[in-house]
């Protein structure tokens, strides 16, 4: 949870994934969405900000190769996996347009294979990333050698993912988002529906096994 501003407007801290962590330096990769992220973008060198974290869980360690499905800024949450396990990720990365396609060169360098789509077709294949992803999952090559899947992106994308893999016994973890106030499990604001009732995304998550999630 990163402080958006001094003073009380914006009031709440904003949840951001740790994009990178190296030698005591934390990096964030974020999209300016509203007031809070706008304020964060106006920070300058030597400004002091409050950070509450790290909070919540993270993706489990893959034992071998793995697949990443990332939609939009969801790439921020999975990127560190590429750096930690270079040459092992099959990356499916979707974005609205080429401006919002971030870190592509680094991803290409670190991944085993990369497939990119943009909604408007401004670069790479046009359409939703879930389509080429589906083709891969349904291919004979994949069936013979199933891999764990890690995903982060908008809920509609994750829902499509859940139907694509629903009849396959695959290990699949997704990182969820919800508006947050406390970030530590106290306010019960950030819940998602799971098979055992509501879970707090900031505390029990943000990473959940996809089979535990109940989609509305």
């Amino acid at each position: 949870m990163l402080e958006a501003a001094k003073g009380y407007d914006p009031l709440l801290k904003r949840p951001l994934s740790i994009f990178r962590y190296n030698d005591g330096i934390i990096q964030f990769l974020y999209r300016i969405r509203g007031k809070g992220t706008k304020c964060i973008s106006e920070l300058r060198k030597d400004d002091v900000v409050q950070l509450l974290g790290p909070l919540g869980n993270c993706y489990p360690q893959p034992s071998g190769d793995f697949i990443v499905l990332a939609g939009g800024i969801g790439i921020a949450s999975v990127f560190s996996l590429f750096e930690k396990y270079p040459g092992r990720a099959y990356v499916y990365c979707g974005s609205r347009n080429c401006e919002e396609l971030l870190m592509l060169e680094d991803i290409k360098r670190l991944a085993k294979e990369v497939c990119v789509t943009t909604d408007d077709g401004s670069v790479c294949r046009a359409g939703l990333i879930t389509e080429p992803f589906r083709e891969f999952i349904e291919s004979a090559a994949f069936s013979n050698n199933p891999l764990p899947i890690y995903a982060c992106g908008p809920n509609p994308m994750l829902q499509v993912l859940s139907t694509i893999i629903s009849d396959k016994k695959l290990e699949c973890h997704v990182s969820l988002e919800e508006v947050m106030a406390c970030g530590v499990g106290a306010c019960l604001g950030c819940v998602c529906k799971t098979k055992s009732g509501y879970s707090r995304i900031c505390k029990e998550g943000p990473v959940f096994k996809i089979e535990d999630i109940v989609w509305d």
């Binding site: 009031l11 709440l12 406390c182 950030c190 509305d216």
Partner: protein
């Protein structure tokens, strides 16, 4: 002896001021408590602060049976505040007693349990079960939560119904009973008096103010529950005014809350007449808020030469 001030309190800290207060038979080491629903069951903040330093811990509202709460979105930020419609999600009285009380008993800080029910009978049931539990020092009745749809807010907004439910609960408990008032009423003084006359040992106020945010593009309310409760610094002037009015209406102790972010905010309530204060939304923004405010009050007293917090309570000047 140039540093000495009245009551023997000095800037050198030779004599520490007395911060302890008495609230409806409950002795607190300082007036600073947590506000229900903003501090979980205590555990959530134990890694940030020493819970032993708090005046009291007020836990998330409990009902006799567990509650799922509302769908999301449950929160939305507003100018200098936030709206919430959690929908009173809680683990239920029984699970609280077996799963959360063992943790809370480790601290030498009184535990005040906030509770509610859908009807008088549920209120009585919760009060009875909680009162027979070791380690619970006080009860706070939430008769004011604006999160529930149809009919829920009546407990705290209708004097007759409020009298009925408080009188019923009073008969079921010997623990100090705090009635938490809703600000969504025409006359807070009237409601404060009703609580006192119905047997409350203290009152706390304010709970959240009912509010709404609409997304103009989709033309839909942003919260899944449509309406929610407003908290945070935006509500503070309203809360201070209401606490001041309530203090003039009753003889029982008053606990003030609503938008307290830092020491001076807390002092406003105390000067208006509050014997205790609660910190809510501020915990989300600064998990150290409670501790910093305890220290801030102490420093203010040293600076002002006040030896006992009771001299400050209700010391508002014309």
């Amino acid at each position: 002896m140039g540093l000495e001030k009245k009551n023997g309190v000095s800037k050198s800290g030779a004599g520490k001021p007395n911060l302890s207060v008495q609230i409806g038979g409950l002795k607190l080491k300082n007036p600073v408590m947590t506000a229900s629903g903003t501090f979980g069951y205590g555990e959530e903040y134990a890694e940030f602060i020493d819970l032993n330093r708090l005046g009291a811990i007020v836990v998330k509202g409990l009902s006799p049976l567990p509650r799922q709460g509302n769908p999301v979105p449950r929160i939305i930020e507003t100018p200098s505040g936030m709206l919430n419609a959690i929908g009173l999600q809680n683990i239920g009285v029984r699970a609280f007693i077996s799963e959360k009380m063992p943790f809370l008993r480790q601290f030498n800080t009184p535990v005040i349990v906030n509770f509610f029910g859908d009807n008088v009978c549920e209120f009585e049931q919760a009060a009875e079960e909680l009162s027979s539990t070791n380690g619970i020092h006080g009860l706070e009745m939430n008769i004011s939560c604006p999160n529930k749809q149809a009919g829920w807010s009546v407990f705290g907004t209708d004097p007759k119904i409020m009298n009925e439910v408080v009188t019923a609960v009073r008969k079921k408990t010997n623990l100090p009973l705090i009635v938490k008032l809703s600000p969504n009423v025409t006359s807070i003084a009237t409601m404060a008096k009703v609580a006192e006359d119905s047997g409350a040992d203290a009152i706390s106020l304010i709970n959240t103010l009912t509010g709404m945010v609409i997304d103009v593009r989709s033309r839909k309310p942003v919260l899944a529950n449509k309406i929610g409760g407003l908290s945070g610094p935006a509500v503070r002037p309203i809360a201070v005014r209401m606490v001041w009015e309530a203090c003039r209406a009753v003889k029982i102790p008053v606990i003030g809350l609503g938008g307290i972010m830092e020491t001076d905010d807390a002092l406003e309530f105390i000067i208006a007449g509050a014997s205790g204060i609660q910190i809510g939304t501020a915990n989300f923004i600064n998990p150290l808020a409670t501790i910093q405010i305890i220290e801030g009050i102490e420093n203010f007293m040293i600076d002002e030469g006040i030896g006992d917090i009771n001299e400050l309570i209700g010391s508002i000047r014309a």
